[in-house]
């Protein structure tokens, strides 16, 4: 009952007209950003962060969160219509989404995608409502050793999920940690790597790095890939004339798929570092193995679209649990959200729900409303998003450079940060090109100071002994879970690759 009354209090905050407006704007802008190929939630939040500066903190965070899960909805539209996932979480949606569009069922695919995203998102928020207070209770017993291990767990799972060359993932994470050491060391008061610059005393600001890596870096890579050479609306498979609404069979056949995908997505989303992409892939694999028609997967099976869509949206909700209750982001997007929280003076962690109930419950309540708004926007604004998709990249790209640059400057009126953003953009481009991980850099940049501080505190408490990590039951549990994840996740990934291979062939 206490949860219900807290949720009602949160609903009263979320339903404030100004907050509701920010929520709707965030949902629409998030979807629009998600529709632009290559721009995922991380770039969206980083780009729009400066726009929220004049707002009330609760409304601002609601808007940024709406951009976060709105971009997850939008990324799937491009996956279905032009076979280009808006972000990694939508990769699995191309497997059956695009074949459905090729068969003239783009309309039903888009509507079912919206329904699946709504179900996944809403199931995820219901589970947040029920589980977040429990997580907070458990996390109250955590001290510096546990926080250090959680930060390392998030980094390790992210690196494992990068797949391919894990060594490049580790180097990316170390670069992020190294960037996090720039500025004054809070314990000794000693400047590190500032080289006499007053602007670096407070450390490297996170926003220009994130905008550079995810905004400009992606854009430079799109130029390298030739996106600006494509003709207007190339590959677009939606004519707006075919049957728009799904039939009853689509709904009946996927009713259990929705539930399975949502639960799998949420569980995977809670694991720091695992993320929406792996959640969608696992849900797709599971769905194929329980389907009576597994041979149809990859050829336009509705369940093959619904499962990853429900999962990636549930995962984005699940990722809010470690963020809100532990203050540990599990992905680049939630890392940027954490930076936004901190900028507004809100410190996520076990005490957030107790000390800032209006904010915490207001945010959770806003996610219910946001998902409802996104369902309606997804279905009724499809023609608008198709129009956005028709804007040639060669027009869009220079405008994005202008928004990134002016947005970065507006944060601290700093030319230095503009140069940092451009430098991060160029480095992000090469990282993307050569298999490094910009997401690991950003996550490590945010987690770095936390990891360093908690490790130093831990070793001070233990008088230099690392044995403290195995003598404390909570620390030992985190180590066991981390080892289990490091073994399990690559196996799941291998299974996912085997599922994708027949499609590729």
């Amino acid at each position: 009952m206490e949860i219900f009354s807290d949720l009602m209090m949160g609903m009263s905050v979320a339903l404030h007209p100004a907050n509701l407006l920010y929520l709707l704007v965030g949902a629409f802008v998030g979807m629009t950003i998600g529709v632009i190929p290559g721009f995922g939630p991380a770039a969206g939040i980083a780009l729009l962060l400066p726009v929220t500066f004049g707002m009330d903190p609760v409304g601002a965070v609601m808007m940024l969160s709406a951009i976060y899960y709105g971009a997850m909805y939008g990324g799937s539209i491009t996956a279905i219509l032009i076979n280009t996932p808006g972000d990694a979480g939508s990769v699995a949606s191309t497997l059956d989404g695009f074949p459905l569009a090729q068969q003239g069922r783009a309309g039903p695919a888009l509507v079912m995608q919206a329904v699946a995203s709504f179900t996944g998102g809403t199931v995820g928020v219901i589970l947040i409502t029920l589980l977040a207070p429990l997580f907070s209770q458990v996390a109250r017993n955590f001290g510096p050793p546990e926080y250090f291990l959680l930060a390392i767990m998030g980094m390790l799972t992210l690196i494992v999920m990068i797949g391919g060359n894990w060594r490049l993932g580790v180097i990316s994470a170390l670069i992020g940690f190294a960037l996090g050491t720039v500025g004054v060391d809070l314990e000794s008061g000693r400047s590190r790597y500032t080289f006499g610059s007053a602007e670096l005393i407070g450390g490297i600001n996170f926003i220009p790095v994130a905008i550079g890596l995810f905004g400009l870096g992606e854009l430079f890579f799109a130029f390298y890939s030739g996106s600006h050479k494509k003709r207007d609306g190339e590959m677009l498979t939606y004519d707006g004339k075919s049957n728009f609404w799904p039939n009853a069979r689509d709904f009946i056949e996927t009713r259990f798929t929705l539930v399975r995908g949502s639960i799998i997505g949420f569980v995977v989303g809670v694991i720091p570092g695992a993320g929406a992409a792996i959640a969608a892939l696992i849900a797709y694999s599971v769905e194929r193995s329980v389907s009576p028609r597994p041979e149809n997967f990859g050829k336009g099976e509705m369940a093959g679209l619904v499962a990853p869509e429900a999962a990636n949206n549930a995962a984005s909700s699940g990722a809010m649990i470690p963020l809100l209750t532990l203050g540990i982001p599990g992905s680049a997007s939630t890392a940027i959200l954490l930076a936004a929280f901190l900028m507004w003076g809100l410190r996520p962690g076990p005490l957030l729900m107790e000390q800032n109930p209006e904010f915490a419950w207001g945010l959770i309540a806003s996610m219910y409303l946001g998902n409802m708004a996104l369902l309606l926007i997804s279905i009724f604004a499809i023609p608008v998003f198709v129009l956005i998709l028709k804007v040639p990249y060669r027009i869009l790209a220079p405008l994005v450079v202008v928004v990134c640059t002016l947005g970065t400057f507006s944060v601290n009126s700093s030319y230095m940060e503009m140069y940092i953003m451009l430098g991060a953009g160029v480095i992000g481009f090469f990282m993307r090109l050569y298999g490094f991980s910009p997401a690991a850099v950003v996550l490590a940049l945010v987690l770095g100071p936390l990891a360093e501080e908690s490790l130093r505190q831990t070793l001070t408490i233990s008088r230099g002994s690392f044995g403290i990590f195995i003598t404390r039951p909570a620390s030992l549990s985190i180590i066991v879970v981390t080892i289990a994840l490091l073994v399990l996740l690559p196996l799941i990934q291998l299974y996912g690759q085997r599922v994708r291979k027949p499609k590729a062939s």
Partner: protein
């Protein structure tokens, strides 16, 4: 080309590590972990991991013909163009300020990569910076680059 990027990362890692060992103390005066503790560990990690990657990549390079050639479907020239234009844009902003700098940048970019519709391009190049300026400066009270050269607008 990946080898060159890795060598650049290795060089940066060596500088970072040199600074950590040369300037920052591992322990503080009171015997606690000092400001160099974390950077020294990180520096050694970056250098060792990157060194292994450089050696692996160098072996791959030797085994590959045309290692430095870009893939046939890639546009390295276009990527270089947008990067150089972005550098010039930042210089333009510093000199002329937000609106004139952005208009010139957009006009130049459209002229180079989207020549088909000059009138539409000009309208977008003028309107977009003005709208962004109004949004940030007037609506959100955020500051915009003013420019070193005083202009009447």
């Amino acid at each position: 080309m990946r080898l060159i990027f890795m060598i650049a990362v290795l060089a940066a890692g060596l500088l970072y590590t040199f600074y950590a060992f040369n300037t920052l103390n591992f322990l503080s005066a009171s015997g606690r972990l000092g400001p160099g503790f974390f950077p020294q560990i990180l520096g050694l990690g970056i250098v060792s991991m990157t060194l292994i990657s450089v050696i692996t990549e160098a072996r791959r390079m030797r085994a590959t013909t045309n290692y430095f050639a870009a893939p046939a479907d890639a546009f390295p020239g276009s990527a270089l163009l947008i990067i150089c234009m972005s550098v010039l844009y930042l210089i333009g902003l510093r000199l002329f300020g937000a609106i004139p700098g952005s208009i010139v940048f957009l006009l130049a970019m459209f002229w180079m990569i989207s020549r088909g519709k000059p009138i539409l391009n000009t309208v977008i190049a003028v309107m977009a910076p003005v709208l962004i300026y109004l949004l940030f400066r007037q609506l959100l009270s955020a500051s915009m680059p003013e420019g070193l050269i005083p202009l009447p607008f």
